[in-house]
Each structure stands twice: as C-alpha cells, then as structure tokens.
Amino acid sequence: MSTLAIDKGGPTRKVKYRSMSRDRTWALRWSYFFLVLFAIFSLVPPIYMLITSLKSSAEISAATNPWWVFHPTLANYVELLTSNQFLRFFWNSAVVSIVVVCVTMLISIPAAFALARMKFWGSTTLATGVFLTYLVPDSLLFIPLFKMLAAVQDITGITLLNRWYVLLFIYPTLTVPFCTWIMIGYFASIPKELDEAALIDGASWLQTLTRIFIPVALPGLIAATIFAFTVSWAQFLYPLVFTTSIDQLVLPVGITTTLIKGDVFNWGQIMTGALLGAAPPLIIYAFLMDYYIAGLTAGATKG
C-alpha cells in the first residue's frame, strides 16, 4: 500500500484557529502594557513634585540624586500653609471657581435644555454657534476682553480691572459654551418619550427640567461641573492679565509671581504650592467619579 492512496485530495494547508480567550488575553496584555506606560508618563511629574516639595532648599540646590529625599522635611508645607499670602491665593481661587461653576451651571443647563428640546427657529444654528465660541483660543480673546472691560469700567465707574471678581465675568466665556455643549449631548440622549410622558403627567417645562432631566442626566451634569471647576481652577492666562495686585491673585498666578523672584526659583515652595493647588480637583474627581461613570439612564426604556 502506498502512502499516496491515503491522500484524498483535500486541502493540505492547516488553518490554525486561536481560541477567543487566548486572543483576549493578548489584547489585555497589550492594553496593560500601554496603560502602564501611560501611567508612568503621567505620574512622573507629580511624583517629582512630591519629592521636591519634601526637600529643603539646600538639598535641592545640592547636586544629589533628584529622585530621592535624603533629609525629608515638611518645612515648605508649613511655610506655605501659614503664609497669609498663600492662603489668600487659595481663598481667591476657591471663591472664583465655586462661583464660576454655579454661574456656569445656571446658564448652561437651561440653555442646553432649550437647545436640545425646545425646537425653535435657529436652535440648531445657535447650538453650533455655542460650540464654535469654545473653539476660539483664549490667547486671542484676552486683549479684546480687556478692552471691553476697561470700557465698561470707564463708563460705569465700577472698578473691574485688577479685581479678583472680574474673573467671575471672564471665566464663564470659557466654561459656558463647553458645558452647554456637553449638556446638549446628554439631554439629547434622553428619550423624547420621557419628556412627553412628563408633559402629559402635567409637568411644566421647568418641572420637566428639574425633576426629570437633571436627575437623569446627572452623570453629564457632573462631567460638566468637573470641567468647569478644573478650567476655573487651573486658568492662568486670564488672571495673569486681569489681576496684578498680590491680594487679588488666584493660586496659579500667585505661586508663579511670588515664588519666582527675578531669576531665583524657590523650587521647594513652588512644587508644594502646585501640589496643594492640585489637591482640590483631585478630591472632587475622587468623590464624583462614581457618579460620573454610573449610567443612570439604564431602564428608562427598552435597552
């Protein structure tokens, strides 16, 4: 019997199928690899800040290993947290950010609701317009804004420039368009039948907004809140331009103007100030993240 007889003429090339779980495992490995890489990339600066903030000025200027603290000290923290100036910056930032978040939400939520649901003449154009506003960079806007506010100050006699509260008028130009845009998206994803049901149940537009839309779109609302807070808290260019007196400064500008004297950089305190400044947004993220991720619309309609 020859071996040829066994050959039935079928395809000889073997196709190798890999199992789904094997594919998945590899996908996960690659995901983790890049995630770890990304995590290291983003975590190195804050870790470096933390290390530096625990060093004394002497240790920083000494050419020792920059990634290790040989004589840890909390002196920078004590100094900043007992300095009225720093606390003043912190306070200014907090007040400005919180008020701006409130103002933004008060404007954005009704605006988004109107643009998403009350179809009126030009509503689509207006919605696009809102977004386009956001695309104009603030580095282009600060000069005309400065001119405008100066004019208002001249006409009304109310001091606006070089006052922290001027930021309450300026920051919303950044936060309102974007938050409105986010909220339009969230509101638009709420099934139309939900507001129709509310309408039939006897709810007014305002009641539909407050009792149905806001609770249902809470994750979106929180996303918008986080955004508005972060933008207000971290804004640098506008406060640098509009406020100059030490007692009117917010944290980011305050740290850089007071802790850099000429060409002398007080690195320990700069890093400490930046870390302390980063704390509030971090805390807010940590608290709101669960809400942010939760999909509250599940179960409204057939999934």
Binding site: P191, E193, L194, E196, A197, A198, L199, I200, D201, G202, A203, Q207, R211, I212, P215, V216, L218, L296, T297, A298, G299, A300, T301, K302
Partner: protein, 366 residues
Amino acid sequence: MAEVALRKVVKRYDEVEAVRGIDLDISDHEFIVLVGPSGCGKSTTLRMIAGLEDITDGDIMIGGDVVNDVPPKDRDIAMVFQNYALYPHMTVAENMSFGLRLKHYPKAEIKARVTEAARLLDITDLIDRKPKQLSGGQRQRVAMGRAIVRNPKVFLFDEPLSNLDAKLRVQMRIEIKKVHQKVRTTTVYVTHDQVEAMTLADRVVVMNKGRIEQIGTPNELYHKPATRFVAGFIGSPAMNFIPCRLEDVGGKLNIRLTDRISFPLPPARAARYSALPRAENLLLGIRPEHLTESHAHLEPGVETFDTVLDVTEPMGMETLVYFGLEGTPICGRVDPNAGAKDGGPMRLAMDLNNMHLLNEATGVVL
C-alpha cells in the same frame, strides 16, 4: 371618562400630508384600535389627540370640548408609550404617582390610588423597585399603572406591546383587555399588528396613507371589508386575490378564474353581482380558510378544482398550502390529515358563499 371626536383633522409636515382629513367618533367607554402599516398616520393621529402634535386643520374634541389648543396636561389624558418611558431615577411608586404629586393631591389619596392600581396590575411587590430592575412586561405594567392612577378621561396607547416578545405580547394583550373591562376608560390604541387590533378592539379603524379605509367591529372588518386594502390587511394569512371576470353560461352567472376554471356563483351571490358589467377586470377575494381540501359531501356553493401544490406549511392544527393559479400565488388551509405534500397534486374546494368580489382598478369591494 369621555367621548372623543375628530372632525376633518389634517396634519401636514411641510410638503407631506401625514393625516388627510380624518373623521372619527369614539364613544364613552369604547376601546378603539387604530391599525395600519407604518407611515399610515395612526401614531400621528394618536399624538394629535394627546396634544403632542399640533393639528394643521380640523377639530379634536374630548368630552365635547374642542381641545385643539389645549396643552397635553390639561386634556386629562394618559398615554402609554412603546418604549414605556418610565422615569429611570424614580421607583415604581414614584413613577406612578408623579402626575398626582405634580397636581398636589393629598398624600393619602396618592397612596390609595397607587396601591389600587398596583393591585389591579399585579405589581404590588415591585412598588419600591427602579425601572432597570424590572423585566419588559413589568415595565409595561408600570407604564399602564402610571396611566391608571391618574384616572383620566382617555387612555392613549402607542404600540405598547411592540417591544415585548411574542409570548409576553399575547399575555399582556389579555391583561390590557382585562384592565379595560375593569376601569372602562375610553381607550385609543395604536398598533400595526392586526391580530392585536382584532383581539382588543370594540371597533377597529383601519388607516392607510393618512386616510381611514374603514371603521368597524373586528368581525365586520373581517367578513365585510370595504376595500382591497382592508381585505388584505385584516386576517393572517392574508386574503387571496385572484383575477377573474363574470360570464353568463346557460342563463347562469359564472365566475371565470382561468381558461380552465370557471364556477357557477351561488344564487345569493349571483343576484348580488348580476348587474355588474361582464367584461370588467375583477378580483375574487377568498380567505385561505375558504380554500380547503375537497371531500365527498360538499355544500352548495362550494366548488372544487385540481391543482399542484408548491409548498406546504404544517402548523399543527392545520396545514397551509401554497400554489399558483396562472401566476397568482394562492394560499389555502387544509386539514393536517388531508395528505397535502410539497409538489403533490391536490383537489381543493373553494367556498364561494364566503367570496368577495372587488373592482381591480379601484380596489372597492362590490
């Protein structure tokens, strides 16, 4: 509770006329079903009654009052949506009581009404759950509960069962009927499912292309359709339409289907159709259940013919047989034991006592 009336109601979206002058009178306690293919204007009509769509022309009356410009909340109606539209952040009880709370009803009364509605719909155990913890059928019950607690003048249902699976749909259909028997609220129900329409309705309104084709009880529509559309839409499998013409053979009126097949009409039918012109192109409308296997003792008016079956579909209690008559596909219903086979010959009997004759050009049933 109240009667609802539509007078020459028109809805126009820019160029498209979705509803073209509808007249409809719905009496108190009545269960009306609007049925038709998608795009026939049935949902638009319902939404106009609800006040969710403005009407372009005509009048809508609820309880004798013209409500054209009355907002939905003041029309005293309740609506059940296809996708339930439950408020996801509220419990079942909160969902049901939302309307009452907005109207500042006393707490005790709200509780009593919600409890009563929950009992009626058998959802008492679910009262503290959120919608996402409920199954499709349970959500649909809650949506109905939300309508019931308001004790409105009119219930509006917009394809409420379309999202449910077949078995649950049948079950919920019976539930809806039971609820209506208990609460007796005037109901307008929209569906594209003719079985749902037939089983639920006191009267069915068949709509097509923005117009009402026919209004009648389920039996009227089934046995006395007014147009080809209604005849073809109501009933499953659908009525067969066979091109035919009338001819006089030896003083008797015959109906000729093909060169080979011609049947004398039963006397009652012959009298009814005798005045029709003989040369006209007509359609013979015959339901599948009136095309059965032939047997020894045929009643008068039942005529037989031989054919070769294309396909058979055993359904258990009956077998559907499909064959062609000069290119026209035809469906019949035979006894499962009649020996119908795919591709096999069969002698079938056509019950002309239940035939319909239609004008081919106009689609009107003669």
